[in-house]
Each structure stands twice: as C-alpha cells, then as structure tokens.
Amino acid sequence: MKRMQKKILILGAGTSATMLANDLASKLHKEILNGEISVEVLAENIYHTFQPANLDVAFKGANPGDFVKSEISLLNARVEYVVDAASKISLESNKVTTVSGKEVNYDYLVIATGSVADPSLLEGLEESSLNFHTGPFNAHKIWTAINELKSGTVVISIAGVPHKCPPSPIEASFLLDEFLRRKNLRNDVKIILTTPYARPYSAEPISEVVEPRLKKKGIEIMTFFNVSRVDPQAKKVYSMEGDDVSYDLLIAIPPHRGAKAVIDSGIGGKYGWVPTERDTLQIKGFENAFAMGDATDIPVSKSGVVAHLESEVVSENIIALLRNTGKLVAYNGRINCPMEVGNRHGLFVSATYTSQTQKQTPSILKYVMKKAFGIAYWVVLSGKLNIIMSLYFGKTHYPKVEGEQQAPVS
C-alpha cells in the first residue's frame, strides 16, 4: 500500500525559508519525486528582497529595484510555492489557515515569517521619521531627503530593541557622515545617534573599536535613550529616561515585532516572538514545529547569517524526525554580523551562545568580504555555495545530547 504523503509546510519566503526549502528539496529529492513528501512554501507576496542593500539605497543612492527578485526564480522546482499568506497557525491541531480561507494540514511546520519593523508601535514615529528597515523603496526616501539637506540636525534613532541587523544604525551613521563630507556639508549638518544601550554599540569589545571612529567623525552619541514618543510638531524625540533631542531629519530604526499571523495566533505574546528551543529550534512544546530566523525569541541577532545557519539546523532536524533516526542537532548560536565603519573598512561581530564577541581591527578586507557576501546572496540561497559557506563558518551545530541543558554562558 502506498504511504500517505507527509507535508513539510514552511511559512515565509525570505532568507531562512528559501534556504530551507531548497535544502530539503535537494536532500529529499527522491522522497519528493516518488510522492512520499511534499515541501510547501506559503508566501505573502511574490517578492524576495535582499535587505542589507537598504543601506546602500538610503545612503549611496543605489537603485531599490536592483535588490528585489521574484521568489519563484530562487526556489528549487521541487518546492511547492503558494502565494497565500498564513493568517492563523494552530500548533495543537497541525493546521494553518491562509488569508484566502484555505486550511492546510501539515506533518512538520516551520515558522520563518521574519520580523517587521513597525513605526506605528511608537507614538508620533510613523508621521515623523524615515527608515531603512521597512524595505528598499522606503529606504530610497532617505536618499531623497539627504540630497535635499543643506543644514540642521539629523538624528538616527534606535527606537526599539530588538531590531534586525544590530550594526545597521552605526553603519548608517558612518555612511551619512561620508555622504555629507562628499557634498561638503558636514560642517553644516550635525549627526546624532541615540541608542538605548550604555555605549555606541551594545557589545563592549566592538564599541571600543567603533567609539573612537565615531568621535573622530564628529558623530554625537546619546546613550541610555529608549525612545518613548516623538512630537512631530515640535520635532523632538523623547526618551523613557527623561531626555529629549531635536531634529530636522529623523531616521529611525523602528520597533520590531513578529508577523501579524503569529501574533493573531496567540503565539509569542504581544510582540509575537515565537518561543523557540535555542538548540534544536523546535517551537517550545511541539516536536514537529520549528521556528527560525528573525521570527524566534532566541536572544541572538536578527540577521541573515543566523537565518542561514538556523535553516541548516531545522533541515537536519526535520530529516532526522522524518527518518526516525533520533539524531537531532543543536545550534551553537553563531552570529557573524558585518559592520561598515567608514572609509571602506569593516569588521564582523562574531559570537556563539558560549563565546563573546572579541575586539578586532577593522580592515578593507572585511569590508570587501561584506560586499562579496552581498553579491553572493542570491546564489547562497540556492545552496550551491554550501561547501564554501561551511568552510567559512566552521561547525555551527552539534549532535544534540538528550537531556542536556544548554550550557549557560559564564
């Protein structure tokens, strides 16, 4: 008798979802071809955006359309791709309802719905600020605004944490400084970066590298500044700690939340960060459901690198469950966020669950590597560069030892 087909349902069509779908399609190609397994991606729209380029769009005038491709061109043909966003996820009944009203039953679920930068979460922010976190076309509005700038104060404000790409506010500050210098306007335009943290960059070893460079460029920093509201009329940003700052142009890193479908499904509380086991990436309490990338509540940076590395863990674990091998793997929490620090220099914020970021010297080579990763992105999604990527990252997951608690960081 023919066995019932098993469905692996992936919600989302961004970095982690695309990598996972392609990896599963390749590793399970026999099972897919003989009808034992199907891998289905449920997407919100037909596009896939390379988000890191938003910085180049905002501060270097890159063309926003150059960083958007159609998702179908990025997916292995063995993946079933359906544009019909999830609206309700029922983990208890292994079922997802879509916006068109369809009910999709699954055997394995992966929530890869990312994070949403949402200016409406803070009073006054939406009407007062521009940002480079809500897509390349919104990032382009920054390019227009800075080209019209003649004098005044630009405030770059981290208006909520956690947010995607922790280095991006620092990078934006350096890139804006460079732009203004090129236009000979740097003496007429003040740049202020506000951050909720104790120092310009949250991790001290990196901050020690970045702070002198920011000072040298005359970029002012306001620390312990948790934005509580913006007054668009007075053009002032206020903090929970009682400070305020006036701006002529406000570039905000908006507060982030999980996908609406996740919040509406009562998963992950008010902000919809999916409660996820940080080693196996299983959704807490569910053996057959996983979350990865920005969508999780795991306290590692919301970044493409994490999305990529986590997709490998989820792929291995789904295959282990399907084949009943009992050999789950555990993610080691590796992060590797590139950061541009001006003058075409870069560094990588690298750490794991058990090892902290180290101090390092910025270099042109690291800047070039960041740019190279950008160019390679579309190919990386296909899985064709897996060998090179795993040589670069080394081992980032290990066999899960049953009953073992994650080693606490000491």
Partner: protein, 79 residues
C-alpha cells in the same frame, strides 16, 4: 499593588539582559521591583549605569549558583 517581577536573561549576552529590562520597565510603575537573572558579566555594570541615568535603584546584585540576581527598584516611572 507593587509588583515583583522575575526576568530570566540567563544565557544571553549583552544586549539581551538590558533589552529584557527595558521591556519590563516599559510596563512598570513606581514601587515595582524587578529581579533580573543574568549570566552576562557586563549586565551588572550596565544596569547600574542605566539605573543612575533613569532615576531607578539597583538594590542588590547577588551572586547565586552560576548567575547574578540583579534587583532593581523602580523609583521613576518611564517618561
């Protein structure tokens, strides 16, 4: 009634503990007490500096088994 919240930030490096504290502070009122459990060695000094800045009080930082319990009293409501 004053609330006593316990937040577990163990196993998360900077900025995890501060991010967790901010989220709790946003929802707090004067008189509340927040116990933050942290393994990040930078957490205590960062939270101490934040308390000074925001008009709150670091009551105590107790070493417990493999982590620090950082007790913060909210003396100033978020503005």
């Amino acid at each position: 009634m004053d609330e006593h919240k316990v937040i577990d930030s163990r196993g998360s490096f900077c900025p995890g503990p501060l991010t967790d504290l901010y989220a709790a502070y946003k929802e707090s009122k004067v008189g509340d007490v927040i116990d933050l459990l942290a393994t990040d060695p930078a957490a205590k000094s960062d939270i101490e500096a934040w308390c000074k800045k925001s008009g709150n009080e670091l009551v105590e930082a107790k070493e417990e088994q493999g982590y620090t319990r950082i007790i913060v009293r909210i003396n100033t409501a978020p503005r």
